[in-house]
Amino acid sequence: MAQVVTPRRLKIAGGVLGAVLLVFIGYAAGWLTPRLSTPGESSPEAGFARDMSEHHAQAVEMGMIAYQKASQPEIRTLGGDIALTQQGQIGVMQTWLKDWGLGPNSSRPPMAWMRDGDQAVKGNLMPGMATREEIAMLRAATGKDVDIRFLQYMLRHHLGGVHMAQEVLKLDPGPEVRELAETMIRNQSGEIQVLRTMLGKLGATPLN
């Protein structure tokens, strides 16, 4: 049978093809949008997630030492609280990186995402982090010495962490990063007061 192509059929065919094309475009746009709007390899968001994970990991290390060895129960509790909270936040940040299609490692130096970040690091140490030697001293300490060292190191660590969170907020990060950074600032600022008070009760002072 001969196909009679009338304008009407042409219109229908055009309409159908046009509709298919529109659906395809809609799908393509929906597929691409999240990929185009997620942070990239060298974004502040990715840098923050990677470096703050690393920074948090040391808080977990110190918190667990205090949880096991501090002489005062409230300091053991505080150590456990900090360790669990920060380990949970590491999980959140690592999930971001996965969702963004990025790895946990960056070939850029630590803090490269931050303004003047190169001046904020000493080797691989980010702001407020304890050296391996200090961690070894904390681990080797006993009695009240554990309490004081933990409070001092943790106070300095939190100050550095709050600073990093404030810096990422200046870079106008995406909503999830903004929310977590604000949470960190709020909670760690509160704990900073607690740490200061506890240090005072022990007759000790913050480092430098």
């Binding site: 196909q3 009338t6 094309l21």
Partner: protein, 306 residues
């Protein structure tokens, strides 16, 4: 639609003569007539074709003001019927359907732009291929997960932990059964030998372990330490009996090099640290830092360190 119908438009800008001279293929009469019509502005109405919907045709042509000579798609379709008698030229050409055509063109253009832009962005971002690919691209790397998968299979009766000194098929080990304790790997630079059974547990957690021959010159040891110290998921120790000056390993992977300045060490770390792991999100802290190469669970007053 026959292919002839589809192809025809491509020549419709030519004059009728040229088209005719080009001698389009088989359905010559009808085709030529069509093209002639197409090229001629405002042709006179012609007898209705034998189509079943003359009304539509009329309406359609009526709705197109002016009957401009076509610029885009061809005059369509006088009906590619082979058996039909060539009647007087059909006037459908003036009713070119600009609506669908414009929509096609516009939508197609938008689609191409979106896809092209998206692809460009994705390619630009994909400067970091998956870690497995990056690892595979390191010259001289051994992937034992691929070559010796049996090393990483546990006896179900035992599980993945075993106490005491263990033997491994590679030196240093790259995975397999290990001690309960792990060696702390928070950027710890160990000055002396550590229990390989504990370091293997660290690698299960995602650590990269740099082992070096005790004779490695001090400046090279220092260079290696700079890559490790204070960096999570990293640890380093001398390894007596090593068959090469330096051996870098992660769970399932190993790279042996002669010099601390070898750029492949950094490539190895970038690709595999935290990625090559059997236990994602496990910590490197809470491990053993005690000196000595004897597994801690064999040390008499066994005391969990940390």
């Amino acid at each position: 639609m026959s292919t002839g119908d589809v192809r025809r438009p491509s020549v419709n800008k030519l004059s009728a003569k040229a088209v005719a001279a080009d001698g389009p293929k088989p359905e010559s009469d009808e085709l030529d007539a069509d093209e002639a019509d197409a090229a001629a502005p405002a042709p006179a109405p012609a007898p209705k074709p034998k189509t079943s919907q003359p009304k539509v045709a009329t309406k359609s042509s009526g709705s197109r003001p002016g009957g401009r000579p076509p610029a885009g798609r061809g005059p369509a379709k006088s009906g590619g019927g082979k058996g039909r008698k060539p009647v007087t030229p059909v006037k459908v050409s003036q009713g070119r359907n600009w609506g669908p055509i414009a929509m096609f063109a516009g939508a197609g253009l938008v689609a191409v732009l979106i896809i092209g832009f998206g692809a460009f962005q994705l390619i630009k971002q994909a400067n970091q291929p998956p870690w497995q690919e990056r690892a595979a691209g390191i010259e001289g790397i051994s992937n034992y997960l691929e070559s010796n998968p049996d090393w990483f299979v546990y006896d179900p009766a035992v599980g993945n932990h075993k106490s005491g000194v263990l033997t491994y098929p590679s030196s240093p080990p790259v995975g397999g059964v290990h001690n309960d304790y792990w060696q702390n790997c928070m950027g710890d630079v160990y000055p002396a030998e550590i229990p390989k059974e504990q370091a293997t547990h660290s690698m299960e957690h995602g650590a990269v372990w740099i082992a070096y021959h005790p004779d490695l010159p001090k400046d090279q040891v220092d260079e290696l330490a700079g890559k490790v110290r204070d960096r999570g998921f990293m640890l380093m120790s001398p390894y007596p009996g090593l068959d090469k000056p330096i051996s870098v390993q992660a769970w399932g992977y190993q790279l042996k090099v002669d010099n601390a300045g070898d750029g492949r060490i950094d490539e190895f770390i970038d690709a595999l640290r935290q990625n090559a792991t059997r236990e994602p999100q496990a910590t490197c802290s809470g491990g053993i830092t005690d000196p000595g190469k004897t597994p801690l669970d064999l040390v008499p007053p066994a005391q969990p360190g940390g």
